[in-house]
Symmetry: C2
Subunit: 207 residues, 2 copies
């Protein structure tokens, strides 16, 4: 069992150490979910009942506005977590969609089981407290980027900060994540590829 | 001592119950900080070493872009928490400013003391895990609003969701928080006041 869930345990051990018996008890809550490319993990209107960890593959979360335009909110590849925290926390229908960009393998844990486990095992509570704190920091820095960087700078920053994601996800999806139209994105992308201005942005926002 | 810190204890008890001896131990970490209207709690370039709870008063957090334009990121009134989580977590200089909009009284807790206390008292770790989870949910809903609502709808939503804040904070600050120019904001505000379209937005985003 442990080998099956080795990746998620290693991810948790970045922040906290659970004794082996707690790790084993946690693994009893987990299961594997496989989804094919283009298959949905969550559709608008569903209630999100689980938290997911990406064992293999790549997913995107997006929102569709009243005009039918898709806005990408989040990507997840191996070793990242994904769910709709709003829907899962409030047990309310989600406003978003999560779809697989590649055949993917997820480790799944039920929301209520996770909440109960955290009450009993403070180390896991601590892990999620630290993860959420880091997510809030990332969200804050992203907000500042949107306010202070040009489109070109945001794209360079994204490529430097998330090179694995940038190389794997279709460019049209990166465009809407960065708040750009595909046409404008193409211009920026071409310009960045020509100038190869690697490394000059990261110093602005340390993470 | 308990009466001095009654508000912060009541805020924490919304999510978790600490036994009296833990509440008392927590209060030993706290101190009162008073600042005058227009005084800064944090200035760009400072390292944020504390978390603050607003006992009395009103503050705003803002970011100044390269052109010198202020962007409001956050407001806090009585019973809200405020700090720069990025700066405090990474012990790095902040990109933001926090200034008092009124004479204010804060309850202050040192970042490192708080981290150490959470290791020893899982209930407080749980409180912050739940608070951060709720903050991420709020941030998510705000992102969706920015993508899907008109300026008028965002203003109505803000007034309904945060009536105490909306009535206390100068309108120019609400404008930049909502991503509007002051001129455009004035038009929206006048229109909303005329039509008095109270109550029609809240059903869109339950919180």
């Amino acid at each position: 069992m442990d080998m099956l869930y080795e990746n998620i345990l290693r991810n948790i051990r970045r922040f906290v150490l659970m004794p082996p018996e707690q790790e084993e008890a946690f693994c009893l809550l987990l299961s594997i979910k496989k989804i094919k490319k283009k298959e949905f993990l969550l559709r608008e209107g569903d209630v999100c009942t689980d938290e997911y960890f990406v064992n293999k593959g790549c997913l995107r979360e997006y929102f569709v506005d009243q005009k039918g335009t898709e806005h990408n909110l989040y990507f997840a590849i191996e070793d990242w977590w994904i769910s709709d925290l709003y829907s899962r926390t409030q047990m309310a229908p989600t406003y978003c969609n999560i779809v697989a960009l590649e055949d993917s393998e997820l480790i799944q844990v039920n929301h209520l089981a996770l909440e109960k486990f955290m009450e009993e095992v403070p180390a896991l509570e601590r892990f999620f407290r630290m993860s959420y704190q880091q997510s809030l920091v990332n969200q804050h820095l992203r907000n500042l980027q949107m306010l202070s960087m040009t489109a070109e700078e945001r794209y360079i920053y994204f490529r430097e900060r998330y090179p694995k994601v940038a190389n794997r996800i279709p460019q049209k999806h990166i465009a809407t994540f960065l708040g750009l139209t595909p046409e404008f994105f193409n211009t920026v992308h071409a310009k960045v590829m020509r100038s190869n201005r690697k490394g000059y942005i990261l110093s602005n926002f340390k993470m």
